[in-house]
């Protein structure tokens, strides 16, 4: 009997087991733990609404803004969530095109994360403007005033980038879900069945359907791929296009994209590591997958490392006293702690992943992923707010202390994101059933002595 070495990228269980294991995550009664989790998230959403109402009533001044820092926690958190939203499409679309097998186990969860992250980020452009009730003036539409928005403004590009990204990524998610929903449909009964059948868009699994389906999926993947790069480049230009020392950098687009993917995967780890335990799908999402995720993290993390270094180099090399002052103060100024926590959490911590031991140790990975999340939030805080504390005219320099209104919105955004994700993983297959099945090798007969 020749022993067939098992390829770790291939699932070990049979078709029936796959369906059963995944569908079980939906059909099982929710535990108390689940209710507590969902409840917390719901509460945070209330915090979000409450804070926002207060801001609508009294004005943005409730937040800690103090000139010249005109953008602070809100824009920081906005960029943070947009960043998170990048891992999903990268894994589900780009790696799909590259036919990398290891993505299958995790891509559904990351993709869901993407959509919800972008939904969260989408709130902020509205929250942070001074007169939220006329945010629609940012949308180009014919009006009796004969006025159009300013297409030269990076903020306009932002509006387009985000809305496009949200549309495409959510479509991508929904399409991918169709066959799996159908699978779920066949295992539930009663009113649930009705709902799932409606959502499965009459999927029967017929040959023709599969043909169209895979075609559509492929094209969508192709469509989504460039967005991964473009969206965050556009976001980065919100800053790079300005003349603020510390913002005005040609390196920003790739720098931000790398950072986005880095933070995205950080968030994936934070979510999936507990999730696979809770849903008892350890055998589907194995340390092999995490190993790959970790490598991706290491890669993007190293790019960040380079970018940080390059920023300081350019500041020195440019000879511009304004740039130099900004970066000097970023490291040794009154806000040195923010600057260093960004560098340590992102550039240094990610280097630990050179070690296979750490890459395969889920606890370690989880801890690191937390560091990444914190670090990436601080990166945006440092770049956006700390750069504003000291620009051209010294007399106008300032400092900033966020208030409850800042933290309220920040916490609320996590609640908003968390609530969607919590509801999702309990009601939809968090692992792509049919793609896993595709990977299951055909059972084969073995001749004595082999060939």
């Amino acid at each position: 009997m020749a022993v067939i070495a098992h390829d770790p990228s291939l699932p070990t269980q049979t078709h029936a087991e796959v369906t059963r294991d995944v569908v079980r995550t939906i059909t099982d009664k929710p535990t108390t733990g689940y209710y507590i989790l969902a409840g917390t998230m719901a509460f945070l959403v209330l915090v979000l609404l409450g804070t926002f109402t207060a801001i609508l009533k009294y004005g943005l001044g409730l937040a800690g803004y103090s000139p010249p820092i005109m953008w602070s926690v809100y824009i920081t958190t906005f960029v943070f969530w947009i960043g998170i939203g990048h891992a999903g499409t990268l894994i589900s679309a780009i790696l799909y095109l590259f036919r990398s097998r290891w993505r299958t186990a995790v891509y559904r969860s990351t993709e869901a994360m993407t959509v919800f992250a972008v939904m969260t980020a989408g709130l902020f452009p509205i929250i942070h403007i001074g007169r939220q009730w006329i945010f629609y003036w940012l949308i180009p539409y014919p009006n009796q005033r004969f006025l159009w928005p300013n297409f030269k403004s990076p903020l306009m590009w932002d509006v387009f980038a985000i809305s496009t990204y949200l549309t495409v990524s959510s479509t991508f998610l929904v399409i991918g879900l169709v066959p799996d929903i159908a699978a779920v449909r066949d295992h539930v009964s009663g009113w649930k069945k009705k709902i799932y059948s409606a959502l499965s868009l009459g999927w029967t699994g017929a040959d023709s359907q599969w043909r169209h389906y895979s075609r559509a999926y492929l094209y969508l993947a192709a469509l989504a791929t460039p967005l991964v790069l473009s969206v965050h480049s556009v976001v980065s230009w919100d800053f790079a296009m300005s003349i603020v020392p510390g913002w005005h950098g040609t390196i920003f687009a790739p720098y931000f994209v790398a950072g986005a993917i880095y933070s995205g995967i950080g968030m994936v780890l934070t979510l999936v590591i507990p999730l696979r335990k809770v849903l008892k799908i350890e055998h589907m999402i194995t340390s092999y997958h995490f190993d790959n995720l970790a490598k991706l993290t290491l890669f993007t993390g190293s790019i960040l490392f380079y970018a940080y270094g390059m920023e300081y180099f350019i500041a020195w090399y440019s000879g511009s006293t304004f740039e130099q002052t900004t970066f000097w103060r970023r490291a040794f100024g009154p806000n040195w702690w923010a600057g260093w926590s960004m560098i340590i959490c992102n550039a240094f911590v990610s280097q630990l992943l050179w070690f296979k031991k750490i890459r395969r140790n889920l606890t370690a990975l989880f801890v690191i992923s937390i560091f990444i999340n914190i670090g990436m939030w601080f990166e945006r805080w440092v770049i956006i707010s700390m750069s504003l504390t000291n620009d051209y005219v010294p007399y106008a320099w300032g400092q900033i202390n966020p208030t409850w209104a800042d933290w309220g919105i920040l916490a609320g955004s996590f609640g908003w994101f968390g609530l969607w994700f919590t509801l999702f993983y309990k009601n939809f297959p968090i692992v792509a059933i049919q793609e896993i099945k595709e990977l299951i090798p055909m059972p084969r007969r073995s001749h004595g002595g082999g060939h």
Partner: protein, 194 residues
């Protein structure tokens, strides 16, 4: 970007102009009541008229229409101030000291004026055209450019209104812009907004 912008703008300009011109045509005045019946118009009839009911049923159609009084006679500062000015009670009394009306209705309305004058209480007219506070509209410049009879351009043919009502929404920026485009005059924001 600019090209796209201009195309879009152009399209909307056409549409906007069309609408604006259209609205000019369609904003037909109320038919002036034939001269005979005009003066005997009763309070009851006036209820059916558009526009708010003023404390005194002042007949622009009689004063500006039949009597052909110049608008500037009462709106004295329109040609040299941003504000057109509303006539002082004294201005009214200038005539109505002697003109006390021919029909019971007129008499009744004019008596309101005289009593108010007697009580030294100014009549509180209800404002019909109230421009938003962030817009600065110097009447004088427009009278200067369009001539003394230009009032109708925005206010409609007041001379045929028994009761004044809003013909054009002067708070529609499009309404101003259309005219400025037609006449090829400035469209700089800071001309009106500061």
């Amino acid at each position: 970007m600019r090209k796209r912008f201009l195309i879009g703008l152009g399209a909307v300009l056409l549409a906007g102009t069309a609408i604006a011109v259209g609205s000019r045509v369609t904003s037909a005045q109320q038919p002036a009541p034939p001269a005979g019946t005009a003066v005997t118009l009763t309070r009851a009839d006036s209820v059916r008229l558009e526009g708010p009911r003023q404390p005194i049923f002042f007949r622009h159609d009689v004063h500006a229409g039949q009597l052909k009084m110049q608008c500037q006679y009462c709106h004295y500062s329109v040609s040299y101030s941003s504000e057109p000015g509303i006539p002082s009670m004294q201005t009214c009394m200038g005539c109505h000291m002697y003109v006390s009306g021919s029909t019971p209705t007129n008499k009744a309305e004019i008596r309101k004026l005289t009593t108010a004058w007697g009580k030294k209480q100014p009549v509180q007219w209800i404002r019909i055209h109230e421009l938003a506070r962030h817009v600065h509209f110097p009447h004088s410049r427009h009278i200067f450019a369009l001539g003394p009879d230009a009032c109708a351009t925005c206010h409609g043919n007041i001379a045929r209104m028994p009761q004044v009502y809003k013909v054009n929404n002067v708070n529609n920026m499009g309404f101003c812009i259309t005219c400025h485009i037609e006449r090829k005059v400035t469209r700089d924001c800071s001309t009106c907004h500061y």
